[in-house]
Every structure is written in C-alpha cells, then in structure tokens.
Amino acid sequence: MDLFPLWNSLRIATLSAVIVFFIGIFAAYYVSKLRPFVKGVIDVILTLPLVLPPTVIGYFLLVTVGARRPLGMFLEQFGVRFVMTWQGGVLAAAVIAFPLMYRTARSGFESFDETLAYAGQTLGLSNRFIFWRIRMPACKQGIIAGLVLAFARALGEFGATSMLIGYTPGRTATIATTVFHLWQVNDEQGAFVWVMINLAISAVVLLAVNMIERKNGYLRRYQKEIREI
C-alpha cells in the first residue's frame, strides 16, 4: 500500500500549524491592543475563513496565486508555485486553520493581567523578555489549545485543498482527498483503510490534548490544596 497520503497530510498539517502558530500569535497580540472599533473590523476579516465554505477560500486562493494571475506569475519567478503542489496544500490548510489559532490566542491575551507587563517594565525588563517569558507562559493554555485545534483542522482540510492542489497520487494526495477519490472509483475497502488511519490520528491528537489538560488540572488542584493548608 502506498502510504504517501499519510506522509503528505502530516507534513502539510504540521507545517501549516507551525506557520499559523507564529502568525496567529502576533495577529492576536496586536489586535488585542487595538481600539474597539478597528478591532471589530479586523477581527471580522481575520475570522472569515472560519465561517466561509472552504471552496470559497479555494476560489480566492486560485484568483490570487493562480498560474496566470499577477501574484502567481511573480512568485513563479522565484520558483514558488502553489497550484497543484504540496506547498499549495500548506497554504490552503494555513488559511483555513488560521482563525482557530488567532481566536483562541486572542482570548488568552485579552484575559492577561496587564499589571504583570507593567511590573516587568518598571523592573527594567525588556519588552521582548516580557512577551516571551511572562505574557506567553501566562497565556500558554489558550495558545496550546489553539495550536492543537489548528493542527486538527489542517489535517482534515478538504475543500480549499482539492480546489488548489487537486488529487495527484504520489504528489498532492492527502488522506482527505484520497478517501474522496477512492470512493469515487468504487474502492470502498481502500477508502475504509484511510478512514481508519484518519480516525487513529484524530484519536491520538485528542488523547494528547486531554492528557495535557488533565496534567494542568491536577497541578491546579494540588496548588489549591497547598494554599488551603
């Protein structure tokens, strides 16, 4: 059996989750500091990919980075190509998964106690130190949750991916597009195998999330007990 779709899905989901992790955090951080009105407008724009049908995202991606579009031709000069390549899969999955990372991280940043940052400043700590060593750890829960959600969503991406990169066995096939293709060609058994593989990956991801949460839960209960003593 050709395991390429498994490998391709994992690399697309992992890479897009990493990209979305950084972009999502910085977008969340800067948006959380904006004035209410501007924040509302930008928030709507950044959250749109979550509620639009993935095929609409696929359409927007094709009209911007398509082979005969200005941006697509510009990128082609540097050998960067998104249509019908696995890199395009990363782009599509990142756009779709971005709002999940952004929104969870933003609600984390908004509940951050700003006095901690002020205290850091008056103590002479650099703004970079305050961001990475005080703000980020305090918002850790939301950021990890956002990252896992983004990874899971990227792994399951189908609509925008199939529009942008199609289905080419051994080149662009992902688990989701493979299941669809095998069903189309009446290979129910083949589809079943990939469905089970996908179920296994999702179960492992969710188990990992629960274990992280439970560990933190134990820690918190334990700390509460110490305080009560």
Binding site: Y118, A119, T122, Q223
Partner: protein, 347 residues
C-alpha cells in the same frame, strides 16, 4: 533630592491635574477610590503618558512635555509595588526576585544579594515556591524584595495592605515602616485608609476628583484639617455649618448654640468639625444640655447619638464615642467639649 510632579491628563470626562513635591520620607496620597491616585503613580512610572507637565526625580527629568522627554519605564529606576503585587505566576520566588536585578551585576553578586534579601524579608526556604503557594503577607514581601534588589531611587506603594486580612495588616505596617526607614529615599504611598496614612506618612496630599485638595504634614492634617474634605477623609464624624461671631466665638445655627474656641478664628469660617470622641462629660467648656437619641455598642466602646435641646429638627444627630471603661450608670444630662477640640473649617 526628592520628587517633583506636575501633570495634566484627560481621560474621557475625568481630568487629572496635580502638582506636588516631596523631599525624602514617606508622602501619602490619600483620597477616595476612583479619584485618580493610581493614575498618578502610573504616570510617574511611565506606564501612562500625561498630556502635559513635568516629572523630575532627584534632578533627573523623567517626563517633560515642553522638552519632549518621556523616558520609558525601564529607564526610570523606580520601584512600583502594585496592589495585587503582580508577581509572575510562572516563576518561583527566586526567579521573580532575579527579575528585579539590573543587568550590570555578575552572577556571584546577584546570588549574594538574593540570599541577603531573602533573609531580610524572612523568606528563607521559600525561594523555590510559586507565588500562589505563598500567603498574602509573603507575596507582599517577595514583591518588595524584587523591587529592593534593583536599588530604585523612589518606591511607590499602591494600596499595599488592602489585599491582606485585617489581623495581618497592622503587623505588616510595622515591618513596612522599619523597611522604608532603612530605604531612606523618597516613598509615595497611595491609600484610602486614614489610619494607614497616619501611621506611615510624614506628609499627606489629599486628592479629590483628580486635583490636589490639601498638602500638609500628617499631624497638621489630622489636628488642624481646615477644609471640609480633609475633615471627612481624616474621619471627623460631626461636620456642621457655622459662622464667626468674634475671634474666639462661633455660632452653630442648626444646633442652636455658640462655642468658645481657643485659637483665634479667621474670616471665611464656613463650618466646624468635631471628632466623635472629643465630647466629654467632665469638660466645663462649651457645656450644654442634651437629649440622647440612640446608642450602638462596639467591641471596645459605645457610640451614642444625641441632640442639643434647641437643635433644629432637620439637622442630623450628633455622634459621641467613648471607651467602655468610661460608661457611667446614668446617661449624662450635659456634654462639654474643650475649646481646643473644635476644628474650624474654611471655604
């Protein structure tokens, strides 16, 4: 040496406009909550930017809108003790205190200073604890230690005792007083609690609606308040409109009496303030017949409310407070008050 603050800042409908100066010692900023006290500290720390004005600390300009100077908080070398102490929850006590060191010292010096400050703050053995595993008093000491290791030129304390249980508060105030004496430089203490202000501050600035109401030495403020606001904030229970008759006599129309006073009255007298415990059964001064209207028992004393015989119906009952040991079998028919204990208030 000392701090000079003259700042203006508009925040929606609220206008902050204060000016005060302090040499070494503890200066209290006393005012009701929401009057702008904490905003003043934030402006001095550089967390908030005033619209206009000047902030100068020991000849170093921290902020000057005319010269376009606005040092970032990191360069101001101030210690700011937040109301919530603002300990970093993801770091243990030791890491929290290490954050307070300025970059110049080497590791060995830091370790030595860290051990010293842990001992000074009675935190030995706590250095590996996370902040939430500490009591309120310990958290406060960690926050102070974190400030002190940076050797700041000014310490600002924002309601430092409000988050503590009352039985701890007084004990910690004594420790704090010793510590601030040792620190020796200027300290600003924000509080709404007059007892706290009296115990710890040499001078007091009264803040009201974003402006400086009164700026006086602490003793002077409590025993010669002169303004209605100062009388209220220092806890005078009986404040009533009055007018001057002569240099040593005033009339309180709503009580239907005249009081003799020791110190000559100035023109512009508008009211008098009398502390509830200043009335006396034995005083021969200003003695008038009274009628009791109510009583309230407290742990160590009583509060009686009473009225003078000819008191006008719409004026409020008068408060008299005395310790339990001085309760007589029969309620007195007359009460007097020393001619020194009537505080004149002016416009």
């Amino acid at each position: 040496m000392g701090i000079y603050v003259d700042i203006k800042k508009r925040l929606g409908k609220f206008n902050l406009d204060v000016c005060f100066e302090s040499k070494d010692g503890v200066l209290g900023l006393l005012g009701a909550s929401g009057c702008g006290k904490s905003m003043i500290l934030k402006c001095i720390a550089g967390i908030e930017k005033p619209d206009a004005g000047k902030i100068i600390l020991d000849d170093k300009i921290l902020f000057d809108s005319a010269k376009k100077i606005n040092l970032p908080p990191q360069k101001r070398k101030l210690g700011y003790l937040f109301q919530s102490y603002a300990l970093f929850p993801n770091m243990d006590v030791r890491q929290n205190i290490l954050c307070g060191f300025s970059g110049a010292q080497n590791q060995q010096e830091k370790e030595k200073a860290l051990d010293e400050v842990l001992e000074l703050m009675q935190l030995q053995g706590k250095d590996k604890h996370r902040p939430h595993a500490l009591s309120g008093g310990q958290q406060q000491r960690v926050a102070l230690a974190r400030i002190l290791v940076g050797n700041p030129n000014l310490i600002m304390l924002d309601e430092p005792f409000s988050a503590l249980d009352s039985h701890l508060r007084e004990r910690l105030q004594i420790q704090m007083q010793a510590l601030l004496k040792q620190f020796g430089k200027t300290v600003l203490l924000v509080t709404h609690n007059m007892d706290e202000a009296y115990r710890l501050c040499k001078q007091i600035v009264l803040i009201e609606d974003g402006t400086v109401g009164v700026f006086k030495n602490t003793k002077d403020l409590f025993f010669n308040p002169e303004s209605r606001q100062a009388a209220i904030l220092t806890g005078c229970k009986n404040i009533v409109a009055a007018r001057k008759i002569s240099a040593h006599e005033l009339e309180i129309p709503s009580w239907g009496i005249r009081f003799q006073v020791d110190k000559p009255l100035k023109d512009g007298l508008c009211a008098v303030a009398i502390r509830a415990h200043y009335f006396n059964t034995e005083a021969n001064w200003n003695r008038f017949p009274i009628v009791f209207t109510g009583e309230l028992e407290e742990p160590y004393g009583y509060i009686y409310t009473f009225r003078y015989e000819n008191q006008q119906a719409e004026s409020e009952d008068i408060w008299w407070k005395f310790p339990k040991s001085r309760r007589a079998m029969e309620k007195p028919k007359e009460l007097g008050i020393s001619n020194r204990n009537i505080f004149p208030l002016y416009e």
